[in-house]
Symmetry: C2
Subunit: 228 residues, 2 copies
Amino acid sequence: MSEEPKPRRRQARGERRIAQLLQAAASVFCANGYTASSTNAIAREAHVSPGTLYQYFPNKEAIAIELGERLLHQMREAHGQAFTPENLALPLPGLLDAVVDPLIEFNCANPAFLALMHGSEVPGRIAEEHDELHATLLTRVQEVIAHYAPALPAEDRLRTAGMAFAAFKGGLDLVLAAPEGAERDATIAELKTLLLRYLSPLVESPSVESHSVESHSVESPVTTTPSR
Amino acid sequence: MSEEPKPRRRQARGERRIAQLLQAAASVFCANGYTASSTNAIAREAHVSPGTLYQYFPNKEAIAIELGERLLHQMREAHGQAFTPENLALPLPGLLDAVVDPLIEFNCANPAFLALMHGSEVPGRIAEEHDELHATLLTRVQEVIAHYAPALPAEDRLRTAGMAFAAFKGGLDLVLAAPEGAERDATIAELKTLLLRYLSPLVESPSVESHSVESHSVESPVTTTPSR
DNA sequence: GGCAAACACGAGTGATCACTCGCGTTTCAC
DNA sequence: GTGAAACGCGAGTGATCACTCGTGTTTGCC
């Protein structure tokens, strides 16, 4: 009944191979989707034989699960620093910068994440974990909305959070489709404008009418630890 | 060299079989995605032998293409009546109703459409046709925006149209995920609210606010050829 | 009624895929 | 140095899939 049926001692070489294989898998999954990707193709992309691949993963699904879990973990880190309490003190445009930018950046850097999470063809395990992350993010967004609009009924708050998140995901696709550079930056700015216009009417403040919409500061001086 | 290498006379029974097979294919593709769907599974869903299936379609891809084209055609009809000139005379909320409702309804009635269009695993032909439809819709949205905000520069108009469309797609996913009934209706209303709040500041009215909301001159206005 | 063609079947075929196995090589604790 | 274990290989294996074929049934036209 011990919980360690795998007392496998990994050498440093093995850890390197695993990382190499996961990177190759990310590339292949991203290009062809999970189902259409063959394990042989992943091994080839990693310049490794099929047998070597199966030394580190029991089957194809396990590759996707391990990759998905690593990406999920990174994603949680990214959104963890996005929803810090001090960001809540910011005015809405500043908060949007603080929340949107890290999430965008993560998805730009790891396109395999969306490819693995979005398909209806992924192994059930990934879908479950993704739902969990989704629920977590939704809760975070709800908390933010509750902070800015405490008078809003909970039901409306849930709907608003869901719609804001859905619109963000749609905009994210657009950002990822844009060539990186000026055009992508402009698309990101436009996405923030959309979210700002959607959420602005909810915040309770004396004279909110004549506020400038534009103020996306590139960075705020409250950054404590620069991300690795 | 004639253009009719297929002088195949179809009987009424054959047409019925084709419709039956396409409906089964829609169901199976929708549940499993294109790649993971087997032709045998489609034939089984249609209560037909594999041989019968291949009497009407030369290969698996042709099934998806025929289904995609039929859905695309219906979709064009739906959005054709969405963007009629008389709808342009409506105030913005009315226009949103007139445009959003038919598109939502179509996608609710034909969930296979998004399943077939969205995946990166679909045969190239479908992707091309989808891009075409996407471009058409974008142009329509641009025209609408141009009608409501004639002073907006073309570049901003394109960006705005793209973002509005992207947000709509995100909201559409949310609507489709909602159980039909009151909750779905509320989600649809919320989606319209989002689009209204995003687009409202663009319409020019007599006593408009002091300053234009838009001024993100993030880059110089030298637009070279935008990539395809 | 008779005939040709469309329709229907389902076992079969070749290709591909996930995965295995036997054997040789490298690493490391002692 | 030596032995055990981790690493690495690639041909091989069974299953599955897209697709075919030989044969029998139904339909429409004369």
